[in-house]
Symmetry: C2
């Protein structure tokens, strides 16, 4: 074997002249296959040593708090979910104090969610960017569980207030949540100027659309 594991001495039969591009297509297909396999891998695109440098400690000191790199990634994501829920709950409480109705409270929570995504893009991507199984927890205990309940609760409050949706509370909550997650992904990955206003406007528009779909 060669040092990289390929069988020694095997030399790829070159493609016919003028068809070197075949290899290019083979490479693209191989990347796609490998990316699929890597989906549940360690998702932290930052090295332990970089983190240690940023904090100003020795790299080994990471192991005082996290058993390995994966555990660190898990902790960062879990912390992110907690802070997201906390931000939404705080926005809800503030609006409630100001006498807002449930629709308005849903709106401020949607905005809080988007604000967290915008302000903590790196963590947010970690939270929603890879496979749940890499956390090795059952769904019930998944750190996103509370966030889901926060959404359902916010929508249910509207129903309690007299609104009702033909598709039910959970479907409505999931639609709203999905739309915001997706819009943020598009906002930050492919389109536009990354204007925060655009994102907030979408959140407002989305809540309005959802409320419009309800019956009194």
């Amino acid at each position: 074997m060669n040092e990289d594991g390929t069988p020694i001495g095997t030399v790829r039969r070159p493609n016919p002249r003028g068809q070197g591009d075949r290899l290019r297509a083979e490479i693209l297909a191989a990347v796609a296959r490998l990316l699929d396999q890597k989906l549940t891998d360690n998702p932290l695109p930052v090295s332990l040593r970089e983190v240690a440098r940023e904090v100003g400690i020795a790299a080994q000191s990471m192991y005082l708090h996290f058993s390995d790199k994966n555990e660190l990634a898990r902790a960062v994501a879990e912390d992110g979910f907690k802070r997201t829920v906390a931000a939404m709950a705080a926005a809800d409480a503030e609006a409630a104090e100001a006498g807002a109705d449930p629709g308005e409270r849903l709106r401020v929570q949607a905005n809080a969610f988007c604000a967290f995504a915008r302000d903590e893009r790196g963590v947010f991507r970690l939270m929603f960017g890879h496979d749940a199984s890499s956390f090795d927890v059952p769904d019930r205990a998944h750190p996103a569980h509370h966030l889901w309940h926060q959404w359902v609760g916010a929508v249910r409050a509207c129903e309690t207030d007299g609104l009702s949706w033909p598709d039910g509370i959970e479907r409505t909550a999931l639609l709203l949540w999905s739309a915001l997650v997706g819009r943020f992904a598009l906002w930050s990955s492919t389109f536009g100027n990354h204007d925060p206003v655009e994102l907030a406007a979408f959140a407002d528009h989305m809540v309005e659309t959802v409320l419009r779909g309800a019956r009194h």
Copy 2:
């Protein structure tokens, strides 16, 4: 300086007894900061050498087709966008041939989009998972541009057919696209059993909701 760049001889003043957890919080904050900085970095979570091994060539042969690793990532994503558009267009054409109305054609395209996401999860994540600026192209030439047009066209066809949306074509297309991207992110990252049927059902439901929001 030490080998890792930290100033030599500086030893972190240990936290007071019983407060070792402070460091943990500092670490989490540092990771969040670093993740933000890394957003536009090379997004390919696979090494050139792995790809070469998978293809069965020497690692250096990658450079016959891609000037560096980033160029490879760009090519994979671009290919992904093209194939997504092609899959939607094919579904649309097939439905049209079968005499489907524009609403039904929108539905099959939404399903084709979800099917691509499901079947090519790795590539899909590359397409929507990182900053556009890492592609170094103006928006107009961004490989997602055609995909956006595909969505707008599919919605516009419904309007041509007599439907109209209070929010306009583009907003409607963006809502639909966002919802599907987000639902897929949730489907693949946090919730559930990864049941393909669930994803397809959401796509159907989403199109139905959008059509319901239109006037004749």
